[in-house]
Subunit: 160 residues, 2 copies
């Protein structure tokens, strides 16, 4: 394993660790718990699961992996706060989370090591020359922290 | 900038992003807010700040950076749940967070690029040969997600 492969493996493991934890947590929560707020007056779990599905689905565009499947989730779970728009059913949002992860896993596996170090699609070539660390792999690192951030919130509903 | 330097820069930026967000949030919260629970019956903010100070301070040992400064925080903020032991004052815990970050920043700056790719001190040489991606940089990635996780919780106290 050369140094670049090693780094991609590291970043991918950090991502998978958070995704696995989130997946296990969401599966352990009942539909009723998904409709609960994480704290009084704060987002409901269903909103956060839909939000994570939307943001993770958006990785497809940023990394040029292929078509998005849940672009319509952005309006409900990204640009609007919870309860502003009618959310899909709990089961549908659960499915969106699972489908999004499944698609990303398949598509990530086809990204070559070298490609992870190329610019992501929200950057210009010029900016990338100045800031070469803003590559595709850095998007994965940021999205990993994003999952962890909301995971720390959803866990509050467990064993309440 | 060679590929290895690039990766260290990426991981360091991901870390700094979360630390900066946490630092700004903690500074924006009043002492009273630090004594509030993030949700009814859950950890208080002061516990989470102390917990982050303890875990981040522990990075010194895992990476062999030098002496820990807050090893005594482990008993209060790591191996015990909130309220089980008497916590230090809010100001003391704020200072612990700040000091820990300051020390890590100084010590991280002295770690050579090559050293980031060596095994961390909780691994044997033998294990490291099998799993070479479990290096010092992977500890940084995991601790970055750990900060994000609790940051998502502390933010719940803001504008409540």
């Amino acid at each position: 394993m050369n140094q670049e492969q090693l780094i991609v493996t590291m970043a991918m493991q950090a991502w998978e660790t958070q995704i696995k934890r989130a997946d296990q947590l969401f599966n352990a929560l009942s539909d009723e718990q998904l409709l609960q707020e994480i704290a009084p007056g704060k987002n409901r779990v269903i909103y956060l699961v839909g939000h994570l599905a939307a943001v993770n689905d958006g990785i497809n565009s940023i990394l040029g992996l292929g078509e998005r499947q849940y672009a319509h989730y952005d309006a409900i779970f990204l640009s609007s706060p919870d309860k502003a728009k009618e959310a899909p059913s709990v089961q549908e949002v659960r499915d969106a989370w699972t489908t999004t992860i499944k698609t990303l896993t398949e598509r990530f596996s086809k990204v070559s090591t070298a490609d992870w170090f190329t610019r992501h699609l929200r950057m210009t070539d010029e900016d990338f020359q100045k800031e070469p660390y803003r590559n595709k792999l850095s998007v994965l690192l940021n999205r990993t922290s994003h999952v962890a951030y909301h995971l720390g919130q959803v866990v509050l509903v467990k064993s309440r």
